[in-house]
């Protein structure tokens, strides 16, 4: 499958070209009785246009890291700059705005809103971003066209296949033209065929110059990345270019 290539001009990156700059990041979940150290000192830099795969066994802290990168959660300690902007000290609504502008999420179970059509799902972040109704529609249609779903815009998620749903989710993640796409096991709930479609799509996005961080167990997907970061017990144990 070939995806239309559209080079993006850079925006939102810091002066040194790093979208993600993490230093000494820790995350402790305090349940009152027991403290769980999910991340124990993470240093991570991701440059503009990089395609990073995060791998590691279950419970290693991959998802926690992804939540921190996507500003869904805040670190217990350490410094994090996303697109050159320090995230520490922002309140919940400000974090929501950062997510809206800078981050596009792709989830394992798609997380489309079931009562909305594909088009309305893609429009959702644009609505939160304050984009006007007409512009919203135009841009959402454009993104759906890019992921090859121009003929499915009025369908609801239940009327779509798994692969199509994930493509809608990717279109939604792209809608606000974010600095970075975060994907958590994007092929985890898909059959091999749909999974490889989604992989090709992600690969195409990378070739367009977008920055991607993907958590995955899938060796095929990890091989498409430029760089593989391996996490065990809350620390990075290996960070190397992917062996293709």
């Amino acid at each position: 499958m070939n995806w239309p290539i559209k080079r993006r001009n850079g925006n939102g990156s810091s002066s040194n070209g790093h979208i993600i700059e993490m230093a000494g990041i820790t995350k402790v979940y305090d349940t009152g009785k027991i403290k769980v150290e999910a991340l124990r000192g993470i240093d991570l830099r991701v440059g503009k246009g990089e395609f990073v795969a995060v791998v590691g066994p279950s419970g290693s802290g991959k998802s926690t890291l992804l939540n921190l990168v996507g500003c869904l959660d805040t670190p217990s300690d350490g410094e994090y700059r996303l697109g050159g902007e320090a995230v520490a000290g922002l309140d919940r609504d400000q974090l929501a705005d950062v997510r809206n502008r800078r981050v596009g999420f792709v989830f394992q179970n798609f997380n489309l809103l079931p009562q909305l059509t594909a088009l309305e799902n893609v429009e959702m972040p644009l609505m939160f971003g304050g984009v006007g109704r007409r512009e919203r529609r135009r841009r959402a249609l454009g993104q759906l066209e890019q992921v090859g779903l121009a003929d499915r815009v009025e369908h609801r998620p239940t009327e779509l296949s798994g692969g199509q749903m994930q493509r809608v989710a990717i279109a939604r993640a792209l809608a606000m033209e974010p600095d970075i796409i975060l994907a958590d096991e994007p092929t985890g709930n898909l059959d091999t065929g749909s999974g490889s479609d989604v992989m090709s799509l992600l690969g195409a996005l990378s070739e367009q110059g977008r920055t991607l961080v993907v958590v995955t167990h899938d060796q095929h997907l990890a091989r498409r990345a430029h760089r593989v970061v391996e996490i065990r017990d809350g620390v990075i144990v290996n960070d190397a270019p992917a062996g293709r």
């Binding site: 998802s63 919940r92 929501a96 999420f105 989830f107 997380n111 079931p114």
Partner: protein, 422 residues
Amino acid sequence: MGTAMNRRDLTVSWSLFVRASSLQRKRAVLTVAAIAWGTVAILMLLAFGEGLGRQMMRGRLGMGENLAVWWPGETSKVWQGLPTGRPIRPRIDDIEYLRQRLPNERVVGEIHNWQTPFSWARTSRNVLVVGTNAEYGEIRHHFAREGGRFFNTRDEAEKRRVAFFGDELAREVFGDIDPVGQVVDLGGSPFLVIGVLQEKLQMGNYSGPDSAHIVIPITTFAAVFGRQGLSNVVVKVARPELMPEALERFSEALAARFRFDPSDQEVMQVWDTAEGARIMDNIMLGLEIFLGIIGGLTLLIGGIGVANIMYAVVKEKTREIGVQMALGAHRGWITGPFVLQGLAYTLLGGLVGLVIATIIIVLLGLVPVEGNEALEFLGKPTLSWEIAAVTALVLGSIGILAGYFPARRAASIDPAETLRYE
């Protein structure tokens, strides 16, 4: 981006509300029904209270407003060397004295003649004749039916033989014939009938209901029946709260003229209808508060139903809310639709309830009241603007609260938590 609501906040909240409101139809219907039921209950209770209150007021006004009636008695206290057991006997000319001493109040005297022989055509019977002043007509609400009048000061000054009939008595005696213009025999003297009492609801009375007596000028009374001693005196004040002070001056004036202790309860037997009115007002207020609380509690239960449903919606949509937050939704945009939904359900229910209650009240209004004693006492349920305003206020508050608490829970959802794998 501050926490204050701006236009973008409102538009986003509204769009989310519009997208979400088509859901949960069955639940929404049940909730709306609960609120409607509560609204019907509160409206009916308050409307019955209002109807009863108005009927009471009408009945009370039947006799006249802000009146006190004094019946002269015997002294029971020694005063200035005078013994007890001395009857106090005011006469017609004392009325003028009392009017001078109570310039801001209105005073009329009455003399009663019971069992007065009366005849007209072939009818004859004994009736109560009341001799009084011309002002009595206005003070004691003796308004004439169309085509007639109450007697005036000239009738009184010239001792004219004119008579004003109670409506019940007039109906019994004259039947279908117009009494006005008829000449009747009263105590052996001819009298011209000049007016008949308009039908009125009278709850309080003394010496029988106004509908059953004949009223003539007090001067004529004295001439025909040869009596000057007053049976009672009626005092009217402008406002109920002026009554205690007016009665004090009334007692003092009488005590000075007839030489008795002004604190002598036996002489001063007074019926203060204004006091009764004050008590009745309090009873009605208490009744309305009581009924309002019952209706309000019913509505509150409906409101809890709304809140419960909204809580269920929040729980069911936790993941969706988490997704929306991940995509950049502010907390206010999430809460807005819930508050709107709570308000919309409550107001819709309130509207349905208002329509149902109005239909019931209109139907009840078609039931004839005449001849039904229970209905005559209860009056007809009546909706007023006050009731509407109170109900709207209660509904609005309940609606906002029913949406607010579930919305608060929705806003506290942690997107990172909800987006973990199941």
